[in-house]
């Protein structure tokens, strides 16, 4: 597979703030590559350096084989970009936006078809300001798809959308990828990264702290698994004492959560069930929870609030 994006030692500073510090990664053709990270981790700066909207201080960037700073024009005809903060004039109608933007590209795809594909047919005469958040994002995806691009940048596509709209957008992104397009996206929803991305780079303080498939990140870095169940009344102290060291007990009303280390000889759930039976504790609704990308993310980037 061809390499679509190559980033080597990318650095960008704003005054005294180091936004991106020695970031390197590759994106292969046909993959959905995700960048996640807390606010201010450098996601948007990185993506904007790739789009040619910002000039890196150091490092080399190659997108579709060209330098975004020098050959920005080539890049802009062959990529689709959805930006975190952008809008259309309030009174511009959906069809007018598509018709106008289509005129910018030498070989634009048929926007009438796009209107149907993205489910905006009914909204064709609606002014931009009257669209819902999800509809606006669908229109922006449509605009990004107009040049029939090889590569699409999606910056925080689903921020501020309700769950229905978010799932609809995810389906759309998968559909776009199935047509052989490469997608680079940033998000701060771990669920989004886990469900959508082939590979995920976790950024913190301008550096990549981990880069793997979501499954590998969870396997390698998810440090704990959990067993959750409910009890009537309270747990006998003997049960708590019998629980082996290294496991942490958390009780919230009738709900009990036991946190245990991952990768153990005896699965945590067997140990817990055995103990519960041995101490004749009646329990309900027992389930195990595998670590998610969110757990990995929090263990890598810490839990303190940013900004």
């Amino acid at each position: 597979m061809d390499t679509i994006i190559q980033v080597e030692g990318l650095c960008k500073t704003y005054g005294k703030t180091v936004a991106v510090n020695e970031v390197s990664f590759d994106v292969k053709e046909g993959e959905i590559f995700g960048m996640v990270g807390p606010n201010g981790a450098g996601k948007t700066t990185t993506i904007e350096c790739l789009e040619g909207l910002r000039k890196p201080d150091h490092g080399t960037v190659r997108v579709l084989g060209v330098d975004p700073q020098r050959d920005g024009q080539i890049l802009r005809t062959r990529t689709g970009m959805q930006l975190q903060q952008s809008n259309l004039p309030e009174r511009m109608k959906v069809w007018e936006a598509l018709d106008l933007y289509a005129s910018f590209y030498p070989k634009a795809t048929d926007w009438q078809e796009m209107l149907v594909q993205l489910g905006l047919e009914e909204k064709r005469n609606t002014p931009f300001s009257k669209l819902s958040g999800g509809q606006k994002q669908r229109l922006f995806i449509a605009l990004a798809l107009l040049p029939d691009p090889q590569l699409i940048f999606l910056d925080e596509l689903t921020t501020g959308l309700d769950p229905q709209a978010r799932h609809a957008i995810w389906d759309l992104v998968r559909e776009v990828r199935s047509k052989g397009k490469t997608i680079l996206l940033t998000t701060h929803f771990m669920e989004e990264a886990e469900r959508l991305c082939d590979r995920v780079a976790i950024l913190d303080h301008g550096r990549i702290v981990a880069l793997e498939t979501p499954a590998a990140l969870i396997r390698n870095l998810g440090s704990e698994e959990r067993v959750v169940f409910s009890v009537d009344g309270s747990l006998p102290p003997a049960f708590e004492n019998a629980l082996s060291g290294g496991n942490r007990l958390e009780i919230q009303g009738e709900r009990v959560t036991i946190h245990g280390k991952n990768h153990r000889a005896v699965p945590l759930v067997s140990e817990v069930v055995e103990l519960l039976t041995a101490h004749s504790v009646p329990f309900r609704d027992l389930r195990t929870e595998q670590p998610t990308l969110e757990d990995v993310f929090l263990s890598l980037t810490g839990r303190e609030m940013r900004e």
């Binding site: 802009r76 005809t77 930006l83 903060q85 004039p89 910018f104 590209y105």
Partner: protein, 247 residues
Amino acid sequence: MKSLLKMTWMEAKLFLREPVGAFFTLVFPLMMLFLFGSMYGNKPIAEFGGQGSIDISVPAYTAMIIATTGLMGLIITIATYREKGVLRRLRTTPISPLVVLTAQIIVLFSMTTLGMLLLVIAGKLVYHMHFEGNAFSVLAGFTLSTLSFYGLGFVLAGLMPTARTAQVIGMVILYPMLFLSGAGIPRELLPEAIKKVSAFLPLTYVVNLLRGLWIGEAWGEHLLDVGVLAGILILGVVLSRFTFRWE
């Protein structure tokens, strides 16, 4: 080229959909004309050098439209496009964002011309307005004045932090200027002290030039007006290169 045409057509539609801008460019000047026309008619008035109220109002209101589109329409549109990220979105396409600015100038210029035409037609049909100038000469003076004010508008648009400030600043500059320059009220009616102030207002020179050309005065009699307006135009082009920001 195709993009510029599409963009211009789009911007024209957006202009007409924005009721406030369209009202002040196309409707309000006509209302003023009919208001003062119904009060004074177009009888020759000695104080106006033997011209009628309508004869001097049509070029003066044309100056008013130029100032309104340059200092309100242009500034607010560009500040809004920048603040909302419309210009940013355009920067991700192969089209130069200059296309949107060019389209903007074409549309505002056309609307300003249309506003003037409506005044001329109403003045002719309703009040038998007198016109002794050369139409091409007037059009040239009109073009110089308009571009000069758009230059001023571009400089200011670059300095405006938000669309809201653009609106407030635009009004603060525009309204006093309309009344003190002779665009809204004939300058013959202004007291001497105010006339001294009006020498510092760019719009005064537009009013003088257009009123002069309207009655067939030679360009030679208006070298000061032409010099000031050309100066503003050049300064506007040069300065806007420094003040202009895409985001």
